[in-house]
């Protein structure tokens, strides 16, 4: 926010003086907010970088760094994932001028952070020399214009997790196309009325966008200085009406995923499969340990088997937040964290997703048989899935709004039995309005 006129200043100073004068001595926090000064580290100076992340197992990688770098220590703070916790906190800290040096920022959120001037352009610290270490399309997620604002960490190529034992019990083959998926869903309902092939998460915008992404939709683009929004496209409508049909016929269960109720159904085998990203493996192994050995993974069902395609759900970067006193060291850590072989191996064990580091699959912890998935090298599925993703997908700065609108519109459509297609049209309209409300330009037509 830009500084305001004098009268407000005086008012504020008065209030501040009042507040500060009465603040009990010794009650203020020990680290005073730093102005965005980037004095940098003096040679030999011991510094500590603050790092906010929610990735499971990342603490081990941080420990490894700390054991090797006594002078540049990283202090990890675990935060609630995404817009339910981490981002509000980061935005607030950015406003307050005391953000952590490093933050976990998902790809779809990078534009929103840029809009708030929350990220450091890392090209001034030589990040371009590192470009070759990363998968190109993930690298692109953090590149805007001539700047690079994030160190890619991992993505979420999609696949289908399914319970081999349950499918066998139901006498149903795991589907390979969306048409088969519907048939299988119907057969499962017939075989066991208490079970469903899967749940439909009405409020998960990320999941739904991945579904549209696979079908060939491309929601956002930039033309000159203008945004182009094409959420309401034939591809998105195809996906929407497909799921609408499944829900109407009571073939899938509309409920939030990755929540206590859902976990208890996954554990109890009341849900047969989960079309989800590679990082879903950690969620399943962590929350349904009692089902070990009963799972398998395959490609997500296809719209057209002749033209196989996949998509991406989530994925995130390590970004240096604007206000860090030691951006150079922070970048050094971020590069190490996401490319060092030992570090990446630790992150893989924690289940951080699909590595953004090049050639991290072969020979890594990913490339091993897993007992949880029936002894299969299940990540081969995701390696292939990764090849089938349309890599030109872009994100807008108001994506949280779009996700919320999507959740609301679809929830309402389910409750009121109205068309999902109309819901998509609504979201399109709302998204355009969101961008304009942010003072951004949107190309119409």
């Amino acid at each position: 926010m830009s500084p305001g006129p004098i009268n407000r200043r005086t008012l504020l100073t008065g209030a501040a003086a009042a507040a500060a004068g009465l603040a009990l001595a010794g009650c203020s926090s020990d680290d005073s907010p730093s102005a965005a000064g980037t004095a940098g580290r003096k040679p030999g100076e011991k510094i500590t970088l603050a790092f906010w992340s929610w990735v499971p197992g990342i603490d081990k990688a941080v420990d490894l760094w700390n054991s090797k770098n006594p002078d540049v220590q990283v202090k990890l703070e675990k935060v609630i994932a995404g817009s339910k916790g981490a981002y509000p906190k980061m935005f607030a800290a950015l406003k307050a001028g005391n953000p952590p040096d490093l933050g976990q920022v998902e790809y779809q959120q990078i534009p929103a952070f840029l809009l708030e001037k929350g990220l450091v352009d890392l090209t001034q610290y030589g990040i371009n020399d590192q470009a070759g270490k990363f998968v190109d399309w993930q690298w692109q997620q953090g590149s805007f214009g001539s700047g690079v604002y994030a160190v890619p960490q991992a993505s979420g190529p999609m696949g289908m997790y399914y319970r081999t034992d349950r499918f066998k019990a139901w006498g149903v083959q795991p589907p390979t196309t969306w048409a088969e998926f519907e048939t299988a869903a119907r057969a499962i309902r017939k075989a066991d009325p208490t079970s469903y092939i899967c749940s439909f998460p009405p409020t998960s915008g990320g999941w739904f966008s991945a579904m549209a992404w696979q079908a060939g939709a491309k929601w956002f683009d930039v033309r000159g200085d203008d945004w182009v929004v094409t959420i309401d496209s034939p591809e998105t409508r195809k996906v929407a009406s497909y799921w609408e049909g499944l829900i109407r016929a009571d073939l899938v269960k509309p409920e939030p995923d990755q929540q206590s109720g859902w976990f208890s159904e996954v554990q109890g085998g009341k849900i047969g499969c989960w079309v989800a990203a590679q990082w879903g493996d950690a969620i399943l192994t962590g929350n349904a340990a009692n089902t070990a050995g009963k799972w398998a993974v395959t490609q997500m069902p296809q719209w057209d088997k002749a033209k196989p395609s996949s998509s991406n759900w989530g994925g995130s970067s390590t970004a240096v937040l604007n206000g860090s006193k030691y951006p150079k060291e922070a970048l050094e850590f971020a590069i190490w964290l996401n490319t060092d072989k030992a570090s990446v191996d630790l992150l893989i064990q924690g289940g951080y997703g699909w590595p953004a580091a090049k050639d991290a699959f072969t020979g890594s912890a990913l490339d091993k048989p897993s007992a949880f998935f029936g002894g299969a090298k299940y990540n081969e599925v995701f390696a292939k899935s990764d090849q089938l993703i349309d890599k030109s997908w872009k994100w807008i700065p108001t994506i949280s709004d779009t996700y919320r609108h999507l959740g609301d519109a679809i929830t309402a459509a389910i409750a009121n039995k109205t068309s999902f297609g109309d819901a998509i049209a609504t979201v399109q309209r709302q998204t355009v309005a969101d961008l304009q409300a942010k003072g951004l330009k949107v190309a119409t037509g």
Binding site: A18, D225, G407, K438
Partner: protein, 295 residues
């Protein structure tokens, strides 16, 4: 002497007034100021720079035209219209029962009813959340066993599930305030009524209830204000259900606008509108009961 008194007033009243100005007046003024600005940007990611400019009442009209915001206000109003009277009636009934001559084990019951007030709203919500989620909730399981299929978290029921959490937390507290009011009634009044042959029902209806009136007014005003502030309950229950979104209540809406969407100006306008509604309702209610009291 006079000057001494004035200095004393300054010393006694000054510190509070200073803090009050800093924590109440200044934020209100600042919110009003912020609500009149908007941000203009250039370039698709605002990398071309941005500036705050005067926007008039644009944020207010945006908030009022935003169906999510108006919807959230209407939602808490509906909530208040149902939950506040229900809770107050429950509190008064419990107070009258405990204060009736027929009650036994009064200290135990009073403590049991008051106990939940020691549970903070977020923790109460976490707790009830477990009792609402199908598959975990023993209550859902019991009802299921009795042939009742209840979904506490559906879009039709979740508002009342929240109402239950609030009632659970505050009914006993409001009851205690009513009881304290009843205790202030001189005992002779009860004795006189008893000698006149008044029965327990009449005693409660025509003597105790009018006596408890000030306490009922006070608790009602606080409940109205509390209703408009609904935040932590929907925040905690949100992940468990599709029926609650980030803009479910006005407070949640303003929080989302400010901290998730970084639309501070809009959030400020919403905060100002919310404070206005709260003041209008509370004053309106006080005026209403004040007028009735005069008759």
């Amino acid at each position: 002497m006079r000057r001494h008194r004035n200095l004393a007033v300054l010393a006694l009243l000054g510190p509070f007034c200073l803090l009050f100005a800093g924590c109440f007046l200044a934020p209100i003024g600042y919110a009003i100021y912020q609500s009149l600005l908007k941000v203009e940007r250039s370039g698709p990611l605002g990398l071309g720079g941005d500036k705050s400019v005067f926007a008039g009442f644009a944020n207010y009209s945006a908030a009022l035209r935003d169906s999510e915001f108006t919807g959230s206000v209407l939602r808490v109003l509906l909530f208040g219209v149902v939950q506040v009277p229900l809770m107050i009636v429950l509190s008064v009934v419990l107070a009258l029962l405990l204060e009736s001559a027929s009650a036994r084990w009064v200290p135990f019951f009073r403590s049991a009813f008051f106990l939940p007030h020691g549970v903070p709203g977020v923790i109460a919500s976490i707790l009830w959340g477990f009792l609402y989620v199908p598959g975990i909730s023993p209550i859902v399981r019991l009802l299921d066993g009795a042939g009742l299929q209840v979904d506490f978290l559906s879009s039709g029921t979740v508002l009342w599930s929240i109402a239950n959490i609030v009632t659970w937390q505050f009914a006993g507290y409001n009851m205690l305030i009513v009881i304290s009011q009843l205790k202030a009634v001189p005992i002779e009044l009860y004795e006189a009524a008893r000698i006149d042959g008044t029965n327990a029902w009449q005693l409660a209806r025509y003597l105790k209830l009018p006596m408890a009136r000030p306490a009922i007014v006070l608790t009602t005003v606080f409940s109205i204000i509390g209703t408009l502030q609904l935040f932590s309950e929907p925040l905690v229950l949100r992940p468990l259900t599709v029926a609650i979104n980030d803009t479910y209540t006005p407070n949640l809406n303003a929080y989302t606008q400010a901290f998730v969407n970084n639309s501070y100006n809009l959030a400020a306008a919403e905060a100002v509108l919310l404070a206005l509604v709260a003041c209008l309702l509370s004053f309106g209610f006080l005026r209403l009961v004040g007028r009735q009291g005069d008759e």
